[in-house]
Symmetry: C2
Subunit: 245 residues, 2 copies
């Protein structure tokens, strides 16, 4: 008798942003599995549960462990921050799941940082938008560059994930230079949100030109407006339509 | 003494996909306000609450009513499906909120159809993606066309909202033609999800060429892969990285 494998998006890291579906999946699991920091976020809700944690880079091992354990009959919740499908664990799990046809996999969505960060700022993603990661660990920088150019040419609002890490200090600066060169205006309203829905949450507003030297780290999500985005008091607003633009 | 105005994303329409933060905002509200269909979704959770509902097109009136009512001291929850910020009510409310400085506005994020639909399909948005609405009610078709072209040139995965309505039957067909002309492959894996997380939920898989004549309506969300997206059994997967692509 095989178990279920739930791939669960926890939202930004505050249990208030869990969905009820995610809570039920965690409650139904025999074991909570994931990157240590994320498992610690939900462990207080289920202090009695078995846990299996791995360091940040052990992702494929974690997926295999979760599938093996479910195949042996346990219900497993593999947790990730934000949404399970947006730079999350759903795709690596499903890439391996074909070898475990007896395991029932369910992807449980969550509030990704594009949405939780946007809510802090108001409505920067109120119209068409792109989500792009600036991490070149698994993606050639040339492709990231092409996508930034296309996002600028299409006048999308942008949400950027992974704007920096210990090893990549200048990716946001390079991204801004690409966007400016591709035609985005220097005074395009932008903002960063750090530690979304966690202690020390902080929003900062910038022009695109100033964003170039904004302090960002791996806990920061970056928002860049379209040509219709404007800042009004504490809010960044991209109107839904062009009727009144 | 003014009230609070919560702009609340309900998720796809099943109370299981509400976040706890959204539940708390609804519980704290004196009145639930919104498009009739969405208010009816949550009324069973709070049968005693006052409600104010308007037809689909009465959006600016609804925003003004919500701000006026909060200014008079009531706590108001303005509800929308999915996320409050993605083609939702956050941006029209905030466009008007400057005239009501005494009202405290809070945007409460939710699981938008891009995420809830993607979870049904597996992980079609596992890497960089664009969200584009095909509704030209408030957006010139020329801009929609430009964004589709840029999304194709950037090899993004796409999630399309509003692929059709009673009056606009051929927008998906036109969108597919634009994507093909801009260089997307005919056999790019695609899918539609209808009635996400509601009775009658249905997923269908297509090639991009076949998507051209897929049956879609206003309850359908459309997913179009990048060049790395593949279908494996019942799943649509966009790998997170290119290491193994």
């Amino acid at each position: 008798m095989s178990g279920n494998l739930y791939v669960v998006g926890l939202g930004p890291g505050n249990s208030e942003m869990l969905t009820e579906q995610a809570c039920k999946a965690l409650a139904d699991a025999d074991v909570l599995c994931g990157y240590t920091v994320y498992v610690e976020l939900v462990r207080p809700l289920f202090p009695e549960k078995e846990t299996y944690t791995t360091a940040m880079r052990g992702e494929m091992d974690r997926c295999r462990w979760a599938l093996e354990t479910a195949a042996q009959g346990k219900n497993v919740a593999l947790v990730c921050s934000g949404d399970a499908g947006v730079y999350g664990m759903a795709s690596p799990v499903l890439e391996l799941a074909g070898a475990y046809p007896q395991v029932s996999v369910e992807v449980v969505p969550g509030v990704t940082a594009a949405l939780s960060g946007a809510a802090v700022l108001g409505a920067p993603l109120g119209h068409d938008f792109c989500v792009i990661s600036l991490s070149d660990l698994l993606t050639p920088w040339a492709l990231i560059e092409k996508r930034l150019q296309c996002a600028a040419l299409g006048d999308f609002s942008l949400c950027l994930y992974n704007p920096a890490s210990h090893k990549r200090k200048d990716h946001l600066q390079r991204a801004v230079d690409i966007l400016l060169k591709a035609g985005k205006e220097k005074d395009t309203p932008c903002a960063t949100v750090r530690n979304i829905a966690r202690p020390g949450q902080e929003a900062q507003f910038y022009t695109l030109e100033a964003l170039r030297s904004a302090p960002v780290d791996m806990f920061t999500t970056v928002f860049i407006g379209s040509s219709t985005t404007r800042q009004e008091g504490p809010w960044l607003i991209t109107p839904r339509g062009y009727r009144n633009a």
